[in-house]
Amino acid sequence: MKRRDFVRKASLSSFATLIGAEIVFASKMVDGYIPLALQDPDPFKLFNKNKGMVVLNDKPWNIEAQAHLLDDPITPNAKMFIRNNGLVPQKINAETWTLTVDGESVINKKTYSLAELKSKFEQYTYQLTLECGGNGRSEFDPPAKGNQWTVGAVHCATWTGVRLRDILNDAGIKDNAIYIGYHAVDQHLSLDPTKEPISRGCPISKAIQDETILAFKMNGEDIPIAHGYPLRLVAGGWPASVSGKWINRISIRNKVHDGTKMMGTAYRVPCESVAPGSKVKDEDMCIIESMPVKSLITFPKSGAVIKKGESLKISGHAWAGELEVSKMEYSIDFGSTWNNCIVANPPNRLAWQRFTASIDFPKKGYYEVWARATDTNGTAQPMLLPGWNPKGYLNNACHRIAVKVK
Protein backbone atom coordinates (compact mmCIF):
# COMPACT_ATOMS: atom_id res chain seq x y z
CA MET A 1 0.00 0.00 0.00
CA LYS A 2 1.40 3.37 -0.91
CA ARG A 3 1.94 5.65 2.04
CA ARG A 4 -0.46 8.19 0.69
CA ASP A 5 -3.27 5.65 0.40
CA PHE A 6 -2.61 4.48 3.90
CA VAL A 7 -2.78 8.02 5.23
CA ARG A 8 -5.99 8.68 3.35
CA LYS A 9 -7.69 5.54 4.68
CA ALA A 10 -6.42 6.19 8.19
CA SER A 11 -7.60 9.78 7.96
CA LEU A 12 -11.10 8.75 7.03
CA SER A 13 -11.41 6.50 10.04
CA SER A 14 -9.96 9.12 12.37
CA PHE A 15 -12.28 11.73 10.89
CA ALA A 16 -15.12 9.41 11.79
CA THR A 17 -13.76 9.05 15.32
CA LEU A 18 -13.48 12.78 15.75
CA ILE A 19 -16.94 13.48 14.45
CA GLY A 20 -18.33 10.66 16.54
CA ALA A 21 -20.14 9.10 13.64
CA GLU A 22 -19.36 7.08 10.59
CA ILE A 23 -18.94 9.16 7.49
CA VAL A 24 -21.60 7.44 5.45
CA PHE A 25 -20.38 8.44 2.04
CA ALA A 26 -16.69 8.41 2.88
CA SER A 27 -15.83 6.52 -0.28
CA LYS A 28 -17.33 9.35 -2.31
CA MET A 29 -15.31 12.00 -0.52
CA VAL A 30 -12.99 13.87 -2.81
CA ASP A 31 -9.27 13.41 -2.25
CA GLY A 32 -8.02 16.19 -0.01
CA TYR A 33 -11.48 17.14 1.20
CA ILE A 34 -11.63 17.92 4.92
CA PRO A 35 -15.09 17.33 6.33
CA LEU A 36 -16.81 20.57 7.29
CA ALA A 37 -17.00 19.40 10.88
CA LEU A 38 -13.23 19.65 11.05
CA GLN A 39 -12.73 22.89 9.20
CA ASP A 40 -11.18 26.02 10.63
CA PRO A 41 -12.18 25.93 14.26
CA ASP A 42 -12.06 29.71 14.57
CA PRO A 43 -15.55 30.75 13.54
CA PHE A 44 -14.77 34.39 14.18
CA LYS A 45 -12.23 34.34 11.37
CA LEU A 46 -14.19 31.87 9.30
CA PHE A 47 -17.31 34.06 9.26
CA ASN A 48 -15.81 37.49 10.06
CA LYS A 49 -17.69 37.72 13.33
CA ASN A 50 -17.19 40.10 16.23
CA LYS A 51 -15.22 38.54 19.11
CA GLY A 52 -18.12 39.20 21.45
CA MET A 53 -20.38 36.77 19.59
CA VAL A 54 -21.12 33.54 21.41
CA VAL A 55 -20.77 30.15 19.76
CA LEU A 56 -23.60 27.86 20.88
CA ASN A 57 -22.85 25.00 18.54
CA ASP A 58 -20.12 24.21 16.08
CA LYS A 59 -21.75 21.40 14.19
CA PRO A 60 -23.83 22.82 12.75
CA TRP A 61 -22.68 26.36 13.37
CA ASN A 62 -24.94 28.37 15.63
CA ILE A 63 -23.61 31.68 16.87
CA GLU A 64 -25.46 34.47 18.61
CA ALA A 65 -24.93 38.15 19.26
CA GLN A 66 -25.28 39.86 22.64
CA ALA A 67 -27.73 42.69 23.20
CA HIS A 68 -25.04 45.37 23.35
CA LEU A 69 -23.62 44.22 19.99
CA LEU A 70 -26.88 45.05 18.26
CA ASP A 71 -26.84 48.83 18.71
CA ASP A 72 -26.12 49.59 15.02
CA PRO A 73 -29.29 50.80 13.31
CA ILE A 74 -28.42 48.42 10.45
CA THR A 75 -26.78 45.23 11.72
CA PRO A 76 -23.37 44.62 10.11
CA ASN A 77 -22.34 41.07 9.21
CA ALA A 78 -19.91 40.92 12.14
CA LYS A 79 -22.80 41.07 14.60
CA MET A 80 -25.39 38.94 12.83
CA PHE A 81 -26.33 35.65 14.43
CA ILE A 82 -25.82 32.44 12.45
CA ARG A 83 -28.34 29.67 12.72
CA ASN A 84 -27.65 26.61 10.60
CA ASN A 85 -29.54 23.36 10.51
CA GLY A 86 -27.04 21.64 8.23
CA LEU A 87 -23.54 22.16 6.93
CA VAL A 88 -22.53 25.33 5.12
CA PRO A 89 -22.20 24.51 1.40
CA GLN A 90 -18.60 24.25 0.26
CA LYS A 91 -18.27 25.09 -3.38
CA ILE A 92 -20.69 27.63 -4.75
CA ASN A 93 -20.43 28.96 -8.25
CA ALA A 94 -22.64 32.00 -8.74
CA GLU A 95 -21.98 31.88 -12.50
CA THR A 96 -23.71 28.54 -12.87
CA TRP A 97 -26.24 28.97 -10.05
CA THR A 98 -29.88 28.53 -11.01
CA LEU A 99 -33.23 28.96 -9.36
CA THR A 100 -36.04 26.63 -10.38
CA VAL A 101 -39.69 27.36 -9.72
CA ASP A 102 -41.77 24.19 -9.67
CA GLY A 103 -44.43 22.45 -7.60
CA GLU A 104 -48.00 21.15 -8.02
CA SER A 105 -49.34 24.66 -8.41
CA VAL A 106 -46.91 26.21 -10.88
CA ILE A 107 -48.31 26.89 -14.34
CA ASN A 108 -44.96 26.74 -16.14
CA LYS A 109 -41.97 25.24 -14.38
CA LYS A 110 -39.11 27.66 -14.95
CA THR A 111 -35.40 27.90 -14.27
CA TYR A 112 -33.50 31.19 -14.03
CA SER A 113 -29.82 31.97 -13.83
CA LEU A 114 -28.75 34.57 -11.27
CA ALA A 115 -28.02 36.98 -14.14
CA GLU A 116 -31.54 36.47 -15.47
CA LEU A 117 -33.07 37.14 -12.07
CA LYS A 118 -31.09 40.36 -11.78
CA SER A 119 -31.86 41.62 -15.30
CA LYS A 120 -35.41 40.39 -15.78
CA PHE A 121 -36.99 41.61 -12.56
CA GLU A 122 -36.98 44.96 -10.80
CA GLN A 123 -34.72 45.11 -7.73
CA TYR A 124 -35.71 46.35 -4.30
CA THR A 125 -33.84 47.02 -1.08
CA TYR A 126 -35.47 46.63 2.33
CA GLN A 127 -34.19 46.57 5.87
CA LEU A 128 -35.74 43.44 7.39
CA THR A 129 -35.87 42.05 10.91
CA LEU A 130 -35.02 38.37 11.07
CA GLU A 131 -35.34 36.69 14.43
CA CYS A 132 -34.81 33.02 15.12
CA GLY A 133 -38.02 31.40 16.34
CA GLY A 134 -36.05 29.96 19.27
CA ASN A 135 -34.48 33.25 20.37
CA GLY A 136 -34.78 33.31 24.18
CA ARG A 137 -35.19 29.54 24.47
CA SER A 138 -32.64 29.33 27.29
CA GLU A 139 -35.13 30.89 29.70
CA PHE A 140 -37.85 28.28 29.44
CA ASP A 141 -38.52 26.05 32.41
CA PRO A 142 -38.74 23.11 32.06
CA PRO A 143 -35.93 23.58 29.59
CA ALA A 144 -36.53 23.08 25.91
CA LYS A 145 -34.24 21.06 23.71
CA GLY A 146 -32.17 22.85 21.11
CA ASN A 147 -29.63 25.60 20.97
CA GLN A 148 -29.98 27.66 24.12
CA TRP A 149 -30.33 31.09 22.55
CA THR A 150 -30.40 33.99 24.99
CA VAL A 151 -31.34 37.28 23.33
CA GLY A 152 -28.96 37.60 20.39
CA ALA A 153 -30.64 35.62 17.61
CA VAL A 154 -32.03 38.67 15.85
CA HIS A 155 -30.67 41.07 13.27
CA CYS A 156 -31.89 43.76 10.94
CA ALA A 157 -29.69 44.13 7.86
CA THR A 158 -30.60 45.52 4.45
CA TRP A 159 -31.33 43.02 1.74
CA THR A 160 -31.38 43.69 -2.00
CA GLY A 161 -33.05 41.40 -4.47
CA VAL A 162 -36.12 40.69 -6.53
CA ARG A 163 -39.65 40.20 -5.27
CA LEU A 164 -40.62 36.58 -4.93
CA ARG A 165 -44.07 37.64 -6.17
CA ASP A 166 -42.66 38.80 -9.51
CA ILE A 167 -40.92 35.46 -10.05
CA LEU A 168 -43.93 33.40 -8.98
CA ASN A 169 -46.13 35.43 -11.34
CA ASP A 170 -43.64 34.98 -14.18
CA ALA A 171 -43.86 31.21 -13.78
CA GLY A 172 -47.58 31.40 -13.08
CA ILE A 173 -49.51 30.53 -9.91
CA LYS A 174 -52.46 28.15 -10.20
CA ASP A 175 -55.66 29.00 -8.34
CA ASN A 176 -55.17 26.06 -5.97
CA ALA A 177 -51.80 27.32 -4.67
CA ILE A 178 -51.68 27.83 -0.92
CA TYR A 179 -48.02 27.65 0.12
CA ILE A 180 -44.48 27.94 -1.14
CA GLY A 181 -41.60 25.76 0.01
CA TYR A 182 -37.91 26.40 -0.51
CA HIS A 183 -35.09 24.01 -1.27
CA ALA A 184 -31.40 24.72 -0.85
CA VAL A 185 -27.98 23.19 -1.33
CA ASP A 186 -26.81 22.95 2.28
CA GLN A 187 -25.77 19.49 3.40
CA HIS A 188 -27.48 17.32 5.98
CA LEU A 189 -25.36 16.62 9.08
CA SER A 190 -25.33 12.92 8.19
CA LEU A 191 -23.93 13.86 4.77
CA ASP A 192 -26.77 11.79 3.30
CA PRO A 193 -27.46 13.58 0.02
CA THR A 194 -31.09 12.44 0.01
CA LYS A 195 -31.84 14.42 3.18
CA GLU A 196 -32.48 18.15 3.37
CA PRO A 197 -31.36 19.85 6.60
CA ILE A 198 -34.27 22.27 6.36
CA SER A 199 -36.92 23.05 3.76
CA ARG A 200 -39.53 25.45 5.06
CA GLY A 201 -41.80 28.03 3.49
CA CYS A 202 -44.80 30.28 3.97
CA PRO A 203 -48.37 30.75 2.78
CA ILE A 204 -48.86 32.44 -0.60
CA SER A 205 -50.18 35.53 1.21
CA LYS A 206 -46.76 36.04 2.83
CA ALA A 207 -44.86 34.99 -0.30
CA ILE A 208 -46.46 37.75 -2.39
CA GLN A 209 -45.83 40.62 0.02
CA ASP A 210 -43.75 43.49 -1.38
CA GLU A 211 -41.00 42.88 1.16
CA THR A 212 -40.64 39.12 0.58
CA ILE A 213 -37.62 38.97 -1.68
CA LEU A 214 -35.03 36.65 -3.12
CA ALA A 215 -31.91 38.56 -2.15
CA PHE A 216 -28.44 38.50 -3.63
CA LYS A 217 -27.00 41.38 -1.64
CA MET A 218 -26.80 42.05 2.10
CA ASN A 219 -25.83 45.49 3.34
CA GLY A 220 -24.86 46.40 -0.23
CA GLU A 221 -22.45 43.53 -0.78
CA ASP A 222 -22.59 39.90 -1.85
CA ILE A 223 -24.31 37.93 0.90
CA PRO A 224 -21.67 36.28 3.14
CA ILE A 225 -21.54 32.50 2.70
CA ALA A 226 -22.91 31.82 6.18
CA HIS A 227 -25.93 33.98 5.47
CA GLY A 228 -26.95 32.34 2.22
CA TYR A 229 -24.71 33.33 -0.70
CA PRO A 230 -25.58 33.57 -3.52
CA LEU A 231 -29.37 33.63 -3.08
CA ARG A 232 -31.48 33.90 0.05
CA LEU A 233 -35.21 34.07 0.56
CA VAL A 234 -35.92 36.90 3.00
CA ALA A 235 -39.32 37.05 4.70
CA GLY A 236 -39.04 39.66 7.46
CA GLY A 237 -41.09 39.44 10.64
CA TRP A 238 -41.47 35.66 10.51
CA PRO A 239 -39.23 33.08 12.16
CA ALA A 240 -35.89 33.46 10.37
CA SER A 241 -36.09 29.81 9.31
CA VAL A 242 -38.60 30.92 6.66
CA SER A 243 -35.79 32.96 5.14
CA GLY A 244 -34.00 30.01 3.56
CA LYS A 245 -30.35 30.29 2.61
CA TRP A 246 -28.53 29.00 -0.50
CA ILE A 247 -31.86 28.72 -2.34
CA ASN A 248 -31.96 26.88 -5.67
CA ARG A 249 -35.61 25.89 -5.87
CA ILE A 250 -38.98 27.28 -4.85
CA SER A 251 -41.99 24.98 -5.05
CA ILE A 252 -45.49 26.38 -5.35
CA ARG A 253 -47.55 23.95 -3.34
CA ASN A 254 -51.24 23.03 -3.37
CA LYS A 255 -50.95 22.16 0.32
CA VAL A 256 -49.01 23.33 3.34
CA HIS A 257 -45.37 22.65 2.49
CA ASP A 258 -44.27 19.39 4.06
CA GLY A 259 -40.48 19.80 3.91
CA THR A 260 -38.00 19.16 6.72
CA LYS A 261 -38.76 21.16 9.87
CA MET A 262 -42.34 21.94 8.87
CA MET A 263 -43.73 19.09 10.99
CA GLY A 264 -43.73 17.86 14.58
CA THR A 265 -42.46 20.32 17.14
CA ALA A 266 -40.16 22.18 14.71
CA TYR A 267 -41.11 25.84 14.46
CA ARG A 268 -44.54 24.95 15.75
CA VAL A 269 -46.24 25.76 19.05
CA PRO A 270 -49.33 24.36 20.75
CA CYS A 271 -52.44 25.75 19.02
CA GLU A 272 -53.97 26.13 22.46
CA SER A 273 -51.79 27.11 25.42
CA VAL A 274 -50.51 24.28 27.62
CA ALA A 275 -49.08 23.95 31.12
CA PRO A 276 -45.27 24.00 31.28
CA GLY A 277 -43.82 20.58 30.53
CA SER A 278 -46.93 19.20 28.83
CA LYS A 279 -46.73 16.61 26.09
CA VAL A 280 -48.43 17.98 23.00
CA LYS A 281 -49.65 15.84 20.13
CA ASP A 282 -48.48 16.67 16.61
CA GLU A 283 -52.00 17.48 15.48
CA ASP A 284 -52.33 20.02 18.27
CA MET A 285 -49.31 22.00 17.09
CA CYS A 286 -49.59 25.04 14.81
CA ILE A 287 -46.94 26.59 12.55
CA ILE A 288 -45.47 29.84 13.83
CA GLU A 289 -46.23 32.74 11.50
CA SER A 290 -45.61 36.35 12.56
CA MET A 291 -43.12 36.77 15.41
CA PRO A 292 -44.36 38.55 18.56
CA VAL A 293 -43.61 42.11 19.70
CA LYS A 294 -40.17 42.41 21.29
CA SER A 295 -37.39 44.84 22.08
CA LEU A 296 -33.78 44.96 23.18
CA ILE A 297 -31.84 47.60 25.09
CA THR A 298 -28.67 47.73 23.00
CA PHE A 299 -26.97 50.56 24.90
CA PRO A 300 -25.57 50.57 27.47
CA LYS A 301 -24.28 47.06 28.01
CA SER A 302 -25.73 45.52 31.17
CA GLY A 303 -23.55 46.32 34.20
CA ALA A 304 -23.15 50.06 33.69
CA VAL A 305 -22.14 52.01 36.79
CA ILE A 306 -22.97 55.73 36.82
CA LYS A 307 -22.72 58.45 39.41
CA LYS A 308 -25.69 59.95 41.17
CA GLY A 309 -26.90 62.96 39.22
CA GLU A 310 -25.82 61.57 35.85
CA SER A 311 -28.54 60.80 33.32
CA LEU A 312 -28.43 57.42 31.62
CA LYS A 313 -29.07 57.60 27.90
CA ILE A 314 -30.40 54.28 26.66
CA SER A 315 -31.06 53.14 23.10
CA GLY A 316 -32.34 49.99 21.53
CA HIS A 317 -34.53 48.39 18.92
CA ALA A 318 -38.11 47.19 18.94
CA TRP A 319 -39.98 45.09 16.42
CA ALA A 320 -43.34 43.39 16.14
CA GLY A 321 -43.37 40.71 13.44
CA GLU A 322 -45.88 41.72 10.78
CA LEU A 323 -46.96 44.72 12.83
CA GLU A 324 -45.32 47.91 13.99
CA VAL A 325 -44.37 49.04 17.45
CA SER A 326 -46.69 51.83 18.55
CA LYS A 327 -45.35 52.43 22.06
CA MET A 328 -42.04 51.86 23.79
CA GLU A 329 -41.59 52.18 27.55
CA TYR A 330 -38.98 51.63 30.21
CA SER A 331 -39.21 50.94 33.94
CA ILE A 332 -36.54 51.35 36.62
CA ASP A 333 -38.68 50.03 39.47
CA PHE A 334 -39.27 46.44 38.38
CA GLY A 335 -42.36 47.28 36.35
CA SER A 336 -44.19 49.31 39.00
CA THR A 337 -44.17 52.45 36.87
CA TRP A 338 -43.43 52.97 33.20
CA ASN A 339 -42.08 55.91 31.22
CA ASN A 340 -42.24 56.46 27.49
CA CYS A 341 -39.22 56.17 25.23
CA ILE A 342 -38.95 58.02 21.95
CA VAL A 343 -39.52 55.41 19.26
CA ALA A 344 -38.77 56.09 15.59
CA ASN A 345 -40.84 54.93 12.65
CA PRO A 346 -39.36 51.92 10.86
CA PRO A 347 -37.29 52.76 7.73
CA ASN A 348 -39.70 50.44 5.90
CA ARG A 349 -42.31 47.85 6.85
CA LEU A 350 -40.85 44.86 8.76
CA ALA A 351 -37.73 46.75 9.88
CA TRP A 352 -37.01 47.26 13.55
CA GLN A 353 -37.54 50.65 15.17
CA ARG A 354 -34.94 52.54 17.13
CA PHE A 355 -35.84 53.84 20.57
CA THR A 356 -34.07 56.17 22.95
CA ALA A 357 -34.66 57.55 26.42
CA SER A 358 -32.82 59.56 29.03
CA ILE A 359 -33.22 58.19 32.53
CA ASP A 360 -32.71 59.98 35.85
CA PHE A 361 -32.38 57.82 38.95
CA PRO A 362 -33.79 59.08 42.24
CA LYS A 363 -31.02 57.78 44.51
CA LYS A 364 -28.02 55.49 44.72
CA GLY A 365 -28.49 51.79 44.42
CA TYR A 366 -28.98 48.76 42.19
CA TYR A 367 -31.45 49.17 39.37
CA GLU A 368 -32.73 47.15 36.47
CA VAL A 369 -33.89 48.95 33.38
CA TRP A 370 -36.71 47.01 31.80
CA ALA A 371 -37.94 47.67 28.28
CA ARG A 372 -41.44 47.00 27.03
CA ALA A 373 -42.75 47.42 23.51
CA THR A 374 -46.43 47.48 22.52
CA ASP A 375 -47.56 46.65 18.98
CA THR A 376 -50.25 48.31 16.89
CA ASN A 377 -52.79 45.76 18.12
CA GLY A 378 -52.17 46.91 21.70
CA THR A 379 -50.29 43.74 22.66
CA ALA A 380 -47.29 44.36 24.91
CA GLN A 381 -44.31 42.24 25.90
CA PRO A 382 -44.81 40.20 29.06
CA MET A 383 -42.51 40.74 32.06
CA LEU A 384 -42.35 37.02 32.76
CA LEU A 385 -41.85 34.18 30.31
CA PRO A 386 -44.73 33.81 27.85
CA GLY A 387 -46.54 30.50 27.32
CA TRP A 388 -44.35 27.45 27.57
CA ASN A 389 -44.08 25.32 24.45
CA PRO A 390 -42.17 22.07 23.83
CA LYS A 391 -39.35 23.61 21.81
CA GLY A 392 -39.11 26.91 23.61
CA TYR A 393 -40.12 29.31 20.85
CA LEU A 394 -41.41 32.89 20.97
CA ASN A 395 -39.92 34.09 24.23
CA ASN A 396 -40.57 37.81 24.05
CA ALA A 397 -40.32 38.57 27.77
CA CYS A 398 -39.05 42.12 28.38
CA HIS A 399 -35.33 42.72 28.15
CA ARG A 400 -33.55 43.86 31.31
CA ILE A 401 -30.17 45.41 31.99
CA ALA A 402 -28.51 45.96 35.36
CA VAL A 403 -27.39 49.47 36.35
CA LYS A 404 -25.73 50.74 39.51
CA VAL A 405 -25.84 54.34 40.68
CA LYS A 406 -23.05 55.18 43.11
Binding site: R4, V7, A10, S11, S14, F15, T17, L18, D31, G32, I34, L38, E139, F140, D141, P143, P300, K301, S302, G303, A304, V305, I306, K307, E310, L312, E368, M383, L384, L385, A397, R400, I401, A402, K404
Partner: protein, 154 residues
Protein backbone atom coordinates in the same frame (compact mmCIF):
# COMPACT_ATOMS: atom_id res chain seq x y z
CA UNK B 1 -4.39 23.13 0.92
CA UNK B 2 -2.12 20.48 -0.65
CA UNK B 3 -2.03 16.79 0.07
CA UNK B 4 0.97 17.03 2.41
CA UNK B 5 -0.70 19.59 4.67
CA UNK B 6 -3.79 17.43 4.87
CA UNK B 7 -1.69 14.42 5.82
CA UNK B 8 0.05 16.47 8.50
CA UNK B 9 -3.25 17.59 9.94
CA UNK B 10 -4.70 14.11 10.01
CA UNK B 11 -1.54 12.64 11.58
CA UNK B 12 -1.66 15.29 14.32
CA UNK B 13 -5.31 14.43 14.96
CA UNK B 14 -4.52 10.72 15.24
CA UNK B 15 -1.65 11.49 17.62
CA UNK B 16 -4.07 13.48 19.80
CA UNK B 17 -6.56 10.60 19.87
CA UNK B 18 -3.78 8.22 20.87
CA UNK B 19 -2.80 10.51 23.76
CA UNK B 20 -6.40 10.64 24.99
CA UNK B 21 -6.70 6.85 24.78
CA UNK B 22 -3.50 6.32 26.80
CA UNK B 23 -4.68 8.80 29.45
CA UNK B 24 -8.05 7.02 29.70
CA UNK B 25 -6.35 3.63 30.05
CA UNK B 26 -4.10 5.00 32.79
CA UNK B 27 -7.04 6.37 34.79
CA UNK B 28 -8.97 3.15 34.37
CA UNK B 29 -6.01 1.11 35.61
CA UNK B 30 -5.56 3.34 38.67
CA UNK B 31 -9.25 3.05 39.47
CA UNK B 32 -9.15 -0.73 39.10
CA UNK B 33 -6.24 -1.16 41.53
CA UNK B 34 -7.84 1.21 44.04
CA UNK B 35 -10.97 -0.93 43.92
CA UNK B 36 -8.90 -4.12 44.39
CA UNK B 37 -7.47 -2.80 47.64
CA UNK B 38 -10.64 -0.99 48.80
CA UNK B 39 -13.43 -3.26 47.64
CA UNK B 40 -15.95 -1.43 49.82
CA UNK B 41 -15.33 1.93 48.18
CA UNK B 42 -18.26 1.49 45.83
CA UNK B 43 -20.60 0.16 48.50
CA UNK B 44 -22.36 3.19 49.87
CA UNK B 45 -24.67 1.33 52.19
CA UNK B 46 -21.84 0.02 54.33
CA UNK B 47 -21.28 3.20 56.33
CA UNK B 48 -22.41 3.11 59.92
CA UNK B 49 -25.57 5.12 60.08
CA UNK B 50 -28.78 4.83 62.05
CA UNK B 51 -30.58 1.93 60.46
CA UNK B 52 -33.44 2.89 58.24
CA UNK B 53 -36.14 0.29 58.10
CA UNK B 54 -38.49 0.30 55.21
CA UNK B 55 -40.12 -2.52 53.40
CA UNK B 56 -39.93 -0.65 50.16
CA UNK B 57 -36.46 0.25 49.00
CA UNK B 58 -37.35 -0.37 45.38
CA UNK B 59 -35.93 1.82 42.66
CA UNK B 60 -38.19 2.47 39.70
CA UNK B 61 -37.20 4.56 36.71
CA UNK B 62 -34.21 5.89 38.61
CA UNK B 63 -36.34 6.98 41.58
CA UNK B 64 -36.28 5.58 45.12
CA UNK B 65 -39.97 4.71 45.36
CA UNK B 66 -40.62 5.35 49.05
CA UNK B 67 -38.95 8.77 49.15
CA UNK B 68 -39.08 10.01 45.58
CA UNK B 69 -35.37 10.77 45.74
CA UNK B 70 -33.20 10.29 42.70
CA UNK B 71 -31.22 7.05 42.64
CA UNK B 72 -27.59 8.07 42.65
CA UNK B 73 -24.37 7.76 44.62
CA UNK B 74 -25.18 8.66 48.23
CA UNK B 75 -28.93 8.03 48.06
CA UNK B 76 -29.17 5.73 51.10
CA UNK B 77 -27.06 8.08 53.22
CA UNK B 78 -29.58 10.80 52.51
CA UNK B 79 -32.53 8.49 53.11
CA UNK B 80 -31.09 7.33 56.42
CA UNK B 81 -29.91 10.69 57.72
CA UNK B 82 -32.38 13.17 56.28
CA UNK B 83 -35.81 11.55 56.25
CA UNK B 84 -36.15 10.50 59.86
CA UNK B 85 -37.37 13.87 61.02
CA UNK B 86 -38.84 15.38 57.90
CA UNK B 87 -40.19 14.32 54.56
CA UNK B 88 -37.93 13.83 51.61
CA UNK B 89 -40.18 16.37 49.88
CA UNK B 90 -38.53 19.06 51.96
CA UNK B 91 -35.23 17.98 50.46
CA UNK B 92 -36.54 17.73 46.94
CA UNK B 93 -38.20 21.14 46.83
CA UNK B 94 -35.21 22.94 48.31
CA UNK B 95 -32.33 23.52 45.95
CA UNK B 96 -29.07 24.86 47.30
CA UNK B 97 -25.38 24.93 46.59
CA UNK B 98 -22.79 23.21 48.79
CA UNK B 99 -22.50 26.16 51.14
CA UNK B 100 -26.27 26.42 51.46
CA UNK B 101 -26.65 22.74 52.32
CA UNK B 102 -23.81 22.89 54.84
CA UNK B 103 -25.41 25.95 56.48
CA UNK B 104 -28.75 24.17 56.60
CA UNK B 105 -27.20 21.10 58.19
CA UNK B 106 -25.53 23.34 60.77
CA UNK B 107 -28.84 25.04 61.49
CA UNK B 108 -30.56 21.64 61.88
CA UNK B 109 -27.82 20.52 64.25
CA UNK B 110 -28.13 23.70 66.29
CA UNK B 111 -31.90 23.81 66.47
CA UNK B 112 -33.40 20.51 65.29
CA UNK B 113 -31.31 17.90 67.09
CA UNK B 114 -29.68 16.59 63.98
CA UNK B 115 -26.74 14.43 64.95
CA UNK B 116 -23.15 14.93 63.86
CA UNK B 117 -22.97 13.55 60.33
CA UNK B 118 -19.21 13.02 60.57
CA UNK B 119 -17.63 11.61 57.47
CA UNK B 120 -21.07 11.21 55.90
CA UNK B 121 -21.66 14.93 55.57
CA UNK B 122 -19.56 15.34 52.45
CA UNK B 123 -21.16 12.50 50.43
CA UNK B 124 -24.60 13.68 51.54
CA UNK B 125 -23.97 17.23 50.42
CA UNK B 126 -22.37 15.96 47.21
CA UNK B 127 -25.53 13.97 46.48
CA UNK B 128 -27.79 16.95 47.11
CA UNK B 129 -25.72 19.38 45.09
CA UNK B 130 -25.39 16.92 42.22
CA UNK B 131 -28.99 15.80 42.06
CA UNK B 132 -30.84 18.84 43.38
CA UNK B 133 -28.70 21.76 42.27
CA UNK B 134 -29.96 25.32 42.59
CA UNK B 135 -32.80 26.11 40.22
CA UNK B 136 -31.34 28.44 37.67
CA UNK B 137 -34.69 29.15 36.08
CA UNK B 138 -38.22 29.88 37.06
CA UNK B 139 -40.69 32.10 35.36
CA UNK B 140 -37.84 34.61 35.13
CA UNK B 141 -34.20 34.32 36.10
CA UNK B 142 -32.31 36.78 38.24
CA UNK B 143 -29.84 38.84 36.21
CA UNK B 144 -26.51 37.21 36.87
CA UNK B 145 -22.87 37.26 35.78
CA UNK B 146 -23.04 41.04 35.58
CA UNK B 147 -19.70 42.60 34.71
CA UNK B 148 -19.80 46.03 36.30
CA UNK B 149 -18.02 48.87 34.52
CA UNK B 150 -17.96 52.65 34.73
CA UNK B 151 -20.10 53.89 31.87
CA UNK B 152 -18.95 57.50 31.78
CA UNK B 153 -15.27 58.26 32.26
CA UNK B 154 -14.36 60.54 35.11
Amino acid sequence: MDQREIENISLKKQYRILKIAIAALFLYTCGFFYYLFNPSCLDFNSKEVPTYIDDDDRIENGIHVSTGLIEAEGLMLVVNNCTNCHSSKLVIQNRMNEDGWNQTIKWMQETQNLWDLGENQKPIVDYLVTNYPPRTKGRRMVLKDIEWYDLYNE
